[in-house]
């Protein structure tokens, strides 16, 4: 391992400061806000509710619909409103990251709608969005096999690095985001941009899993906080 020092003083396997809150949006059936350092995502969940128009209904299971959006002011250079190819792809992989955790067959003819908005972006927006969406699903009382957690990791110089910042993304040999269900030890999102040997891929995934386990604790606390508050 090299002597690579992170600009923000974090250890290589350390997450940025994490904040998680549920029930932050007043009008949604479930909602959550997740921040990892300067990346802030909010998620709202509606449903299960009957899907219209009816010809889109599936008689055997609920449909999960996900939409990921960046607020125009969330980035250094303004984002043009409206869907982009990037946001369409992230919406798709977000849905595919969440769906393995749900019992959609319990809600035939229904839809569960998940909306993620990135309010502030400093790398890791898709994973922050998945963490928030997973919490919002739980907050909405939708039964789940387990919470979905997500984080990216990479490799800078010879060091495996967890939870990359925007500046670190510029110099990493790869950007590898995962979504992971700790209770099931299952990967539901795996993506990577980069150029690394297979051995590194495995090590980086392992590091990301460590990050997910920590995030899982944060998620549980956020939900407990809600429940204890509700119980009080």
């Amino acid at each position: 391992m090299s002597n690579f020092k992170r600009a923000d003083g974090r250890a290589a396997d350390e997450l940025r400061p994490v904040t998680m809150k549920v029930g932050v949006l007043k009008k949604a059936d479930g909602s959550a806000m997740v921040s990892l350092g300067d990346t802030v995502a909010v998620a709202a969940v509606y449903g299960p509710r009957e899907l219209y128009p009816k010809h889109l209904q599936n008689n055997e299971r609920a449909i999960l619909q996900c939409n990921y959006t960046m607020a125009p002011f969330s980035t250094k250079e303004r984002v043009r409103p409206g869907p982009s190819r990037r946001s369409v792809e992230i919406s798709k992989v977000t849905r595919e990251a969440l769906e393995p955790a749900l019992f959609l067959e319990e809600f035939p003819r229904s839809t569960i709608d998940v909306y993620v908005v990135i309010l502030q972006a400093n790398a890791g927006t898709r994973t922050a969005g998945i963490n928030a969406a997973s919490l919002a699903l739980a907050d909405a009382g939708i039964p789940m096999r387990g919470l979905v957690t997500a984080i990216a990791a990479g490799k800078i110089e010879d060091t495996y690095v967890l939870d990359l910042t925007g500046d670190e993304e510029e110099i990493t040999a790869c950007d590898l985001p995962i979504a992971y269900i700790p209770r099931e030890k299952k990967f539901t999102l795996i993506q990577m941009d980069g150029d690394i040997p297979p051995e590194d891929v495995k090590n980086i995934i392992k590091l990301a899993v460590k990050g997910c386990e920590t995030l899982h604790e944060h998620q549980r606390k956020a939900l407990l906080g809600k429940w204890s508050k509700e119980g009080s």
Binding site: Y46, F73, S74, T75, R78, P81, V117, L119, Q120, A121
Partner: protein, 260 residues
């Protein structure tokens, strides 16, 4: 019109409101300055359970042909479903467009921004001021919340760094936007001839009409917008203006108290 709407209308007709507010009483207003690091300026405004985030982003652009020495102001609103189950994905609908245009006109017509100071090179390069309105929770009276958030975001915006007349994205200077007034929109709602301010969502669903009146520090009116399918009498307009001048002043004081 459902039973709840009818109940609200009966109450208002008697001068009462569902949550016990006075007719001229706003819900609690909470304002957070610059919550968004990547925006040049931003504000989160909560009026009761209504929450609106506004971010101001600055960029360089070409001026309009008829105002070659003036910056450009653009306001837009995205009604994401996170804020309300009634909002749908897709391009802005008429309500989002109206909201953005009313906010835009209040800022623009008040001349609170000295647009000539936003000229970098006449006829070629000027600052473009993007005001992006993102409701987080729609519990009624989005216009006032958005209008307040917009002016607070503008007042707290700092110009980004320029190198060779190009923006260095993410680096801000200490120079603030040249903002010299605080236009405040006050929306006056009407049910059965009774006027009241700051309708919450249930009230909003029950009203006949609304009139948004944006006023300046000197009491001048800089924008009017009637909405919904009811109508107003002349006397009601007079009364609404009076209310908006008074409430606008109160809200302006809240905004001013932030500026430290």
């Amino acid at each position: 019109m459902n039973i709840q709407n009818q109940y609200i209308r009966n109450l208002i007709t008697k001068g009462d409101r569902i949550r016990g507010r006075a007719l001229d009483q706003y819900r609690d207003i909470v304002i957070e300055k610059n919550p968004i690091k990547n925006a040049e300026g931003s504000a989160l405004v909560k009026i009761g359970k209504t929450e609106v985030m506004v971010g101001v982003k600055l960029d360089i652009g070409e001026p309009f042909a008829d105002t070659p020495d003036e910056g450009i102001l653009i306001a837009g609103a995205e009604f994401s479903p996170i804020a309300s189950p009634e909002f749908e994905l897709g391009p802005p609908g008429e309500n989002a467009i109206e909201l953005a245009r009313v906010v835009d006109r209040g800022i623009r017509e008040s001349k609170c921004i000295d647009m000539k100071k936003l000229c970098i090179k006449k006829g070629e390069k000027v600052w473009m001021v993007n005001i992006d309105i993102q409701p987080l929770s729609h519990d009624g009276n989005l216009i006032d919340a958005a209008g307040i958030a917009a002016i607070v975001a503008l007042m707290n915006a700092r110009l980004p760094k320029l190198e060779d007349d190009k923006v260095v994205y993410g680096e801000k200077t200490d120079t603030t936007l040249p903002v010299n007034d605080i236009p405040i929109p006050v929306t006056v709602a009407k049910i059965n001839g009774k006027l009241f301010v700051d309708p919450d969502l249930e009230e909003e669903d029950s009203i006949d009409a609304r009139l948004t009146i944006t006023t300046k520090s000197n009491g001048n009116v800089c924008a009017l917008q009637k909405g919904r399918t009811g109508s107003f009498s002349f006397e009601e307009i007079e009364e609404a203006i009076k209310i908006s001048v008074r409430k606008g002043k109160e809200i302006r004081e809240i905004v001013k108290s932030l500026k430290t």
